[in-house]
């Protein structure tokens, strides 16, 4: 009896939690882990009266959610995949918003010696040569794709690596947890790294090569393909994201005094 009562109560309360304007946006874990969304979402609510529900997933899943029409817009960072997404007509257009960068982290004693190299390619070559444990996301995410492209640029074939190369098939946080436990190298976006609470012996060893820059782009889902998507709200959000208000919030966002993102939207 009591269960039935609680159940009814639950059903009623669940039905009662609908706000005015709501839209769903799929974002990558790295964006969410940065903490920037905690700054932007309340501002969006205040300015536009719009509640943006975030689905925090890998780039691969974000693109699938968009293609299936399960979200109204996506905010991701994997140029090739984005272009393919647009080519298939799933999105209306691609709008660059901001970028951050990737960093290479590893055990503080740095036995592969990547702390003083000249380029990201050089750093990766040294890790491969030393056969030091390296944790890869291995989850088809934007970060994973970036990592693979960097190995390729360094003249390495990630597919042929030995057991020192560990593809964990997990999100950034999980990959960092794994690297911390295994005293392994890994590549992380700077935001996830700065917000990561379980560093253990890990340290930031290399950053700064322009190839490590990580461009975020906003893509509204195509309303011609999915009639139910809230294209007007997605457009409203886009206008806000490229506004001066967003520029200020993004450019001044800091963790431990470090700037994370650089606003680079044009035509706001």
């Amino acid at each position: 009896m009591i269960q039935v009562f609680i159940g009814l109560l639950a059903a009623v309360t669940l039905a009662a939690t609908a706000a005015a304007d709501q839209m769903r946006m799929a974002v990558t874990t790295s964006f969410h882990n940065s903490g920037l969304s905690d700054i932007l979402l309340p501002a969006i609510r205040d300015d536009l009266g719009l509640e943006v529900q975030l689905l925090v997933v890998g780039t691969g899943q974000a693109l699938r959610l968009g293609a299936a029409g399960d979200v109204d817009a996506i905010l991701v960072h994997s140029r090739k995949a984005e272009d393919a997404f647009l080519a298939e007509g799933h999105g209306t257009h691609r709008r660059e918003i901001m970028y951050n960068d990737f960093v290479l982290v590893g055990p503080s004693e740095d036995s592969a010696g990547i702390g003083d190299v000249a380029s990201a390619a050089d750093a990766l070559q040294r890790i491969a040569r030393a056969r030091q444990p390296f944790v890869s996301r291995g989850d088809d995410s934007g970060t994973h794709k970036k990592e693979l492209s960097l190995w390729a640029a360094a003249g390495q074939d990630a597919g042929s690596f030995g057991s020192w190369y560990r593809a964990v098939g997990a999100g950034m946080g999980q990959a960092l947890n794994t690297a911390s436990a295994m005293h392994a190298y890994t590549m992380s976006d700077r935001a996830s790294w700065l917000n990561f609470g379980n560093r253990g012996d890990l340290a930031l060893l290399y950053a700064g090569d322009p190839v490590l820059f990580n461009q975020y782009a906003y893509i509204p889902v195509n309303p011609d393909k999915h009639g139910h998507v809230k294209f007007d709200l997605a457009t409203k959000l886009e206008t806000w994201l490229v506004s001066d208000r967003a520029r200020t919030l993004i450019d001044t966002y800091r963790i431990n005094g470090e700037t994370l993102f650089v606003f680079n939207a044009t035509g706001g």
């Binding site: 009591i2 269960q3 039935v4 609680i6 159940g7 639950a10 059903a11 309360t13 669940l14 939690t17 769903r24 874990t29 882990n33 509640e51 529900q53 975030l54 689905l55 925090v56 997933v57 293609a67 299936a68 029409g69 399960d70 999100g171 950034m172 946080g173 999980q174 960092l176 947890n177 911390s180 917000n195 990561f196 609470g197 379980n198 560093r199 999915h226 139910h228």
Partner: protein, 234 residues
Amino acid sequence: MSDIWEGLVQAFLLVVRLDAELIEITLRSLQVTLTALVVATAIALPLGALLAVRRFRYRRLTIAVLNALMGLPPVVVGLIVYILLSRSGPFGVFGLLFTPTAMIIAQVIIIVPLIASIAHQALRELWAEYHDLLISLNTTKTQRMRAILWDSRRALLTAALAGFGRAIGEVGAIMIVGGNIDHSTRVLTTAIALETGKGDFALALGLGFVLITMAILVNLSIHALGRTETEGRW
């Protein structure tokens, strides 16, 4: 070890501060799981009784399938429900994906086989005992099912609690179909996964302890209800 200690401290702080977000996700956990439990028992108990009382052609097969489904990985359930509820899936028009309703659906699918199997064990034993009597009393099939359901209610309570335990601690399926959206579909388990991902083990553990405490409280209160009945009427 120090992580666990920090987790306990975090849990304590969260609770004494009556952290608004904690209360919100805890209540949502309860809402989703208790609703799923009510729906699942409404399906599973009659099903268990039916399997005990009736002899139909595919009964053994059904029981075997139920038992096998008990071990179904929640992630698979989540994925299937996701595909079904997705806008491009067969039930997409209802727009249920990434809502608590989707999470309830997934949990129902996960715990129905569990509850039905445990219930069936208890009901089958009671049916063996009651068989001659109930047939002699010229009962209908429905009356038989009702009699064994009512008279094994304490065993069925255990079955329901097992279902509750599995549902409240489940993360794989509801992460996929709920999306772990802040203020909308975030529950204790998905919040724990999120904080673990951020490497904030203390907060994750703290939430874990809150989850354990809540599960214990629910179990205790349901057992207490059973016991008052024992003393009062039994």
